[in-house]
Amino acid sequence: MSNTPASLKYAKTDEWFDPATGKVGISDYAQEQLSDIVFMEITVSVGDEVQAGSQIASVESVKAASEVNAPVSGRVVAVNESLPNNPEAINSDPYGSWFIQIEGGDPSGLLDAADYEKHCQERAH
C-alpha cells in the first residue's frame, strides 16, 4: 500500500504538489510503478513560466521511462539541483525528493489524498 500524505495535493499523472511550499515531486505510487530509478533530469530552469500538464522533468528506471509534468501553472523559483546526482532518493523518499518549486500555483484542480488513493487503486488492475 502506497504512502499518500494528506497535506499534499496530487495530479492524476502522479505528481504531488505541496500548497504550503510550492514544491513538486512524484508520488510513492509513481516511484513504485517505475521501480528502481537510475536517472532523472529536470528540463526547466529557475524563472521559467510553466503550465499545468507541461513537462518539467523526465525519470528513467531500469525498465521504464516517464515524463514528469507540472501539476500547477506558475513560475519556477527553485530546482533541486542535487537530485539528478542521487536519483535513487526518489525511490527511498518520494516526498522528500522535490524536483522544483513553483510560485503562485493554484491547487484547486488537483486531487486530495483520499481521491488520489482511489485513483491509484482503480489503476491497479
Partner: protein, 492 residues
C-alpha cells in the same frame, strides 16, 4: 568460472599477429605533438585470443545450438551455404567506389535482388541501402514526409500507430518531429476501425501497420483500413518484421501498402549476428518511387544480343538523399538473401510461410488448454499467450527463465504491451515436430511446477552458466569499460 577480460589476460611484451618490415625508405613521423604516447591495447598471443573467444562462445545460446522461439525476431536456421557465398573473394575484396565496369557481378546481383523483392512484395521499386529494419523504417517515413511536402501538403504531421506496434514505429516518426497518435486494437486484435475513423483527417501522414500484427494476427479488415487511410490522403506504411508469414501468401503492395521495409535478417535467413548487422531494404508503390534514397542500382545500357546490360547507379528524381555511406549491407546482407531466394524459388518461399504458420498454430493448439491466449483465432507465424498460471504467482519472466533449464531460448517477454505478462512465441518453419513437442511439453511441465513447486520456477535458471543478473547495480554503477586512460580528466 567466469572468463577474464582481454585486458586481464594481457601480458606486457606478448605478441599475436605481426606484420612485415617496411619495404620503403623510412620517412619521418609528424611532429611529436601530433602523436600519442601510449596505446593501451591488450598484448596477447594468437592462442590466448582463440581460447578466450572459444570460452565466450560457450556462454551463448544460438540457433545452431537449439530452439529459439523469440517472437517477432524470426530466428530461423541460417543456411551454411550463405556463409560461403558471402565470403567469395569477388564479394569480400571489392571496393565500393570501384568503376562500375569492374563490379558488374555485384551490381547485377543487387539489381536482381531489387527485382525479386519487388515481385515478392508487389511494390513498384525497392532500395537496398538501409542497414537494418529500423533504418529502413526511418527511410520509409522520410519518403512519406517528402511525398506530402512535394505536394505542398504541409499540414500533415500526425502519424497513426496501433497500440500493438513495435517501439521503432513511433520512434521513427518522432525522429522527424511528427506527433504520434496511438490507435487501439479491437477485441479480435484488429485495428479498431471506429477509433481509426476518428483520427482520419487532413493532418494524417499515414498509418504504420505491422500485418500480421505483433499478436501474430492478420488484420481482418485490412482492405477497409487501407481505404480509410487513402481516403484521408494518408499513406500506408507496412512494418515488414512479420513478412515471414506472407511469402507467396499475399503481397503487401497488392493490398494497397505504399511503403514497407524488409528485414533480410529475419525473413531471408541473414543471421542475426548477436544483434546485427541486419539489412533493411524498402519497397514503395509507384507514387513514392521518385523519393527513394540515392543511389539506386539501375540498368544504364540495355542488353543487346549476347552483350549483357550495363548495370550502374541512378538517382531518383526527388530522392530523400543518402541513408548511409556506400550501397547498403551488400556482403553480409544482400548476398546471403540472394542465395536464399535463388534456392527457394516461388514455391519454396510459399512453403516457408505455410510451414511457419503451421508450426505456430500447432504450438498454440498444444498450449491453449493450459495458457490463456487472449486474442484467440487462427494465428499466422507467431502467437501471444499470457505467462501466468491459475493458482500461482509465477510471472512470464519466471517461465522464460525456467525454459532455459529445459535448454530452450525463452520467447519474447512483455511485448506486445496490450497483453498482460505476454509471452510471444515464433517457432519459424525450420523446426521439426519433435522439437515443437518437446518445447510444448516443457511449458506444460512448467505450468505444473508453477502450482506444485513455484520456487523452482521463480529462482530459475539453475542449469545455465550464469544466474539472473543484477540490472539495478549495472544501471546505477555504470561500469561500461574495463579500462580508462591514465591521468584522464573526466571533470573537464
Amino acid at each position: 568460472m567466469t572468463e577474464p577480460t582481454l585486458f586481464e589476460l594481457s601480458s606486457p611484451g606478448r605478441t599475436g599477429v605481426t606484420f612485415p618490415e617496411a619495404d620503403v625508405p623510412r620517412f619521418e613521423l609528424p611532429d611529436s605533438s601530433l602523436l600519442r604516447d601510449d596505446l593501451p591495447l591488450p598484448e596477447l598471443a594468437e592462442v590466448d585470443v582463440v581460447r578466450h573467444y572459444m570460452a565466450l562462445s560457450r556462454y551463448n545460446y544460438s540457433v545452431d545450438g537449439g530452439f529459439y522461439p523469440l517472437g517477432s525476431c524470426t530466428m530461423k536456421y541460417n543456411p551454411k551455404i550463405n556463409e560461403d557465398t558471402c565470403r567469395l573473394p569477388g564479394f569480400l575484396y571489392t571496393h565500393p567506389l570501384q568503376p562500375i565496369e569492374t563490379v558488374q557481378g555485384n551490381l547485377m546481383l543487387m539489381y536482381q535482388l531489387q527485382e525479386w523483392l519487388k515481385e515478392i512484395s508487389g511494390f513498384a521499386a525497392v532500395t537496398l541501402q538501409p542497414a537494418a529494419g529500423a533504418h529502413g523504417e526511418f527511410t520509409g517515413v522520410l519518403m512519406m514526409r517528402a511525398y506530402h511536402k512535394a505536394r505542398g501538403d504541409h499540414r500533415r504531421v500526425k502519424m497513426l500507430v496501433p497500440d500493438s506496434a513495435h517501439g521503432t514505429n513511433p520512434a521513427s516518426a518522432g525522429m522527424l518531429g511528427m506527433t504520434v497518435k496511438v490507435i487501439p486494437s479491437d477485441a479480435r486484435g484488429n485495428v479498431d476501425l471506429e477509433a481509426l475513423k476518428a483520427e482520419c483527417d487532413d493532418t494524417v501522414v499515414g498509418l504504420m501497420l505491422t500485418n500480421p500484427n505483433t499478436l501474430g494476427l492478420f488484420d481482418e479488415h485490412i482492405q477497409e483500413v487501407v481505404r480509410l487511410i487513402h481516403e484521408c490522403g494518408g499513406l500506408m506504411y507496412g512494418d515488414g518484421a512479420n513478412l515471414n508469414a506472407l511469402l507467396g501468401i499475399v503481397r503487401p503492395g497488392d493490398l494497397g501498402f505504399d511503403v514497407m521495409h524488409f528485414n533480410l535478417h529475419k525473413t531471408f535467413s541473414v543471421p542475426h549476428g548477436g544483434g546485427g548487422p541486419g539489412s533493411g531494404p524498402v519497397g514503395v508503390s509507384a507514387r513514392l518511387a521518385d523519393f527513394l534514397p540515392a543511389p539506386q542500382v539501375g540498368i544504364l545500357e540495355p542488353a543487346e544480343g549476347d552483350t549483357p546490360p550495363l548495370y550502374g547507379f541512378v538517382t531518383p528524381k526527388h530522392s530523400i538523399g543518402r541513408m548511409k555511406a556506400f550501397h547498403g549491407h551488400f556482403g553480409g546482407g544482400l548476398v546471403r538473401a540472394y542465395t536464399y531466394i535463388a534456392m527457394h524459388g516461388a514455391e519454396g518461399l510459399r512453403d516457408v510461410s505455410q510451414y511457419a504458420v503451421l508450426n505456430a498454430n500447432y504450438l498454440a493448439a498444444r498450449l491453449r488448454g493450459t495458457y490463456k491466449i487472449p486474442y484467440d483465432r487462427v494465428c499466422m507465424h507467431e502467437f501471444v499467450m499470457e505467462g501466468r498460471i491459475e493458482g500461482s504467482d509465477v510471472r512470464a519472466l519466471d517461465i522464460s527463465k525456467r525454459l532455459m533449464d529445459y535448454n530452450f531460448h525463452p520467447p519474447t517477454n512483455y511485448f506486445p504491451l496490450i497483453v498482460h505478462e505476454a509471452l510471444m512465441i515464433e517457432p519459424t518453419e525450420t523446426e521439426n515436430k519433435d522439437t515443437l513437442d518437446r518445447f510444448a511439453d516443457a511449458l506444460l511441465k512448467i505450468a505444473e511446477e508453477a502450482r506444485t513447486n513455484p520456487d523452482v520456477v521463480k529462482s530459475a535458471p539453475h542449469s545455465t552458466p550464469f544466474g539472473r543478473m543484477d540490472e539495478v547495480k549495472a544501471a546505477r554503477e555504470l561500469v561500461l569499460c574495463c579500462w580508462l586512460p591514465e591521468g584522464y580528466d573526466s571533470n573537464r
